[in-house]
Symmetry: C2
Subunit: 365 residues, 2 copies
């Protein structure tokens, strides 16, 4: 409810009060129909999240399909089900928001907007989720444009990339604000205090990059970015994404998405090449038998399912987008991420970081 009670209408922008009640039992609205393996894997993941992580969920989808699955898990009547007969196909994009106003994603967002849930989780089409969430959920006070954040799989300490594709042609001011959103995320989800922020560019010197990056660098270096101080450490390059140099990498949505897809594609290619090499001769295969444990760990280290998914930051509630190919495990992890963001009051933290804002900034996206 926090996202409602302290929304713009209630006079947001106040610093977060220490001692304010923390949401111990957030309710996650789960889009049962989104994802390559929906609804089976999604329902199974939601059930696992309830049983193993003690999370409260509401499933949103076609009762005719979801009810038998819940019964199969022995959870009929234990998990609330909200009906949404329409669904958005995985290959549908933003236009689906207009074609299917009562889709499972739209209804899940609506539950958050009405205060019946604290966060949304969907493994559906990213384009459709982004567009529906922006349409149905109120932007937090002062937020110019929400940003899509992903956690990059580095050990021991993760790096957050924001924006990973929500806005293709952002203004420099939006990039500066993504630094605030990303810092709030690093604090809440990773428990980092004073997260170090880098700006994705070409060349590490201040003068390097395109016009947009150069202007964003100026905003981030000074105190013109608004809100709480940011620990800005300067430009980072594509090769630094997995170097663990910074906690948050700020990017425009175009370059950020290209970097993310390149990273995922290269990791998959490299591991595929390794697998092929290690099974290309009888001797090599024999060697692999001795490395079974290590090769399995390697596989896990690069598995996006472990990390729970992407998060759209800057709107009321929290919106978690699981990988389209998410299995039961990935869905449960995404529900866990949604719950931890809601418990950590990510929306409150963002409002606190952005601070008292100018009226002109309070616009919906």
């Amino acid at each position: 409810m926090t996202s409602r009670a302290t929304g713009p209408a209630a006079g947001g922008g106040q610093p977060h009060q220490a001692g304010e009640p923390v949401i111990d039992h957030p309710i996650i609205a789960v889009d049962a129909m989104g994802g390559d393996h929906a609804p089976e894997a999604v329902v199974a993941g939601a059930v696992a999240a309830v049983r193993q992580l003690g999370i409260k969920v509401v499933l949103v989808g076609r009762p005719g399909q979801v009810r038998p699955l819940l019964a199969g898990h022995g959870m009929l009547g234990q998990i609330r089900l909200v009906a949404a007969e329409e669904l958005v196909a995985m290959n549908e994009g933003a236009l689906a928001t207009w074609r299917r106003p009562r889709s499972s994603i739209a209804v899940a967002c609506q539950l958050v907007h009405l205060g019946q849930a604290t966060a949304v989780m969907s493994a559906g089409s990213t384009g459709a989720i982004l567009s529906l969430a922006r349409l149905r959920l109120r932007a937090l006070p002062g937020v110019i444009r929400p940003g899509l954040a992903v956690t990059l799989p580095i050990r021991p300490r993760a790096t957050i990339l924001i924006d990973a594709g929500a806005t293709s042609d952002p203004k420099p001011e939006m990039l500066a604000q993504f630094a605030q959103l990303g810092s709030a995320y690093a604090e809440v989800a990773l428990g980092v205090s004073k997260p170090a922020v880098g700006l994705l560019s070409i060349g590490t010197e201040p003068g390097k990059g395109n016009k947009l990056a150069k202007r964003a660098f100026e905003l981030l270096s000074g105190d013109q970015h608004g809100g709480l101080p940011i620990k800005f450490v300067g430009n980072v390059e594509g090769g630094d994404l997995l170097a663990g140099k910074v906690d948050v990498v700020v990017a425009d949505g175009f370059a950020g998405n290209i970097a993310l897809k390149t990273l995922e594609g290269t990791a998959a290619y490299a591991l595929g090449t390794v697998r092929a090499a290690l099974s290309s001769s009888a001797k090599a295969r024999m060697g692999s038998l001795l490395q079974r444990k290590e090769l399995r760990e390697l596989q896990d280290a690069f598995d996006p399912e472990t990390y729970g998914g992407a998060v759209l930051l800057g709107l009321e509630g929290a919106v978690v987008i699981a990988h389209g190919s998410a299995t039961q495990r990935g869905t449960a992890a995404a529900c866990g991420l949604a719950a931890s963001l809601a418990s950590g009051q990510i929306a409150e933290r963002i409002k606190e970081r952005l601070g008292p804002h100018r009226q002109g900034f309070r616009r919906r996206t």
Copy 2:
């Protein structure tokens, strides 16, 4: 010399004549002072290129340092040496062009401009080389802006990425032209006929991307791009760079450089993780002993030295930029690439592809 004789002053833009003499013995101006291991590794690489590949080279650098190295290889008097006392440090960028007008890179470019060499090879600072080459070498007729092309290490067939960082804020017309430059490169260096060209964007559908990519998509889809027909297959994503889907990927220099650095960084990270995993236990190490051959091949597959380096396309002659850390092997490969581009008359091919051009396009960059 072709690049001079058919330069703009001589009335360029004529289609390439079949039967025109091919440059069998191009001369490569090698910047002896550029690179982390210069001049030793560069001189050794140039000597290897002469001896093993039958390439003619001119070394440009400090005679006091280069002469003893040539003597050590028993090549004193066999390879021409052009003096350049100044050098550009690896951490110097574009400004060095003004501070050191007689640097080894500048003199090497000047040799091409004067017709005393056909191509330049340097492992020095990329920023300095780009800026010096643009200053000293004439743009080919019709070329709006030269593009930096790199060969991505995929097997069996490579993919070329252009622009990998020469222009951070290009116009859509430049991206359309990079498709021509990249196609010419794929024809000459990889022997591909009718190279398939993709546009780096976010999402594969035509409407996806930022404003720049959307406009470039329109130009590439129609026949407004000028010159010979392009085999444009649509948008590709970051994950497609190593998928072998297309022969040429066109990108703006900002996103292209970020993609390239992300790809290199991720490949290095993945291989490092593999290496660590396979040596993390006695059993796993024993397994690796059985995979020695395969692990060595894996290392080679991801070694940028094999591919000869990046190429600046669209200027008279050919400009090859080897990796800063290039060893003797990398330098020799880069000389080989420069020679094959010159022999294949890359400049002629580009002029042919761009076709009769409007006067307004004939501007220096």
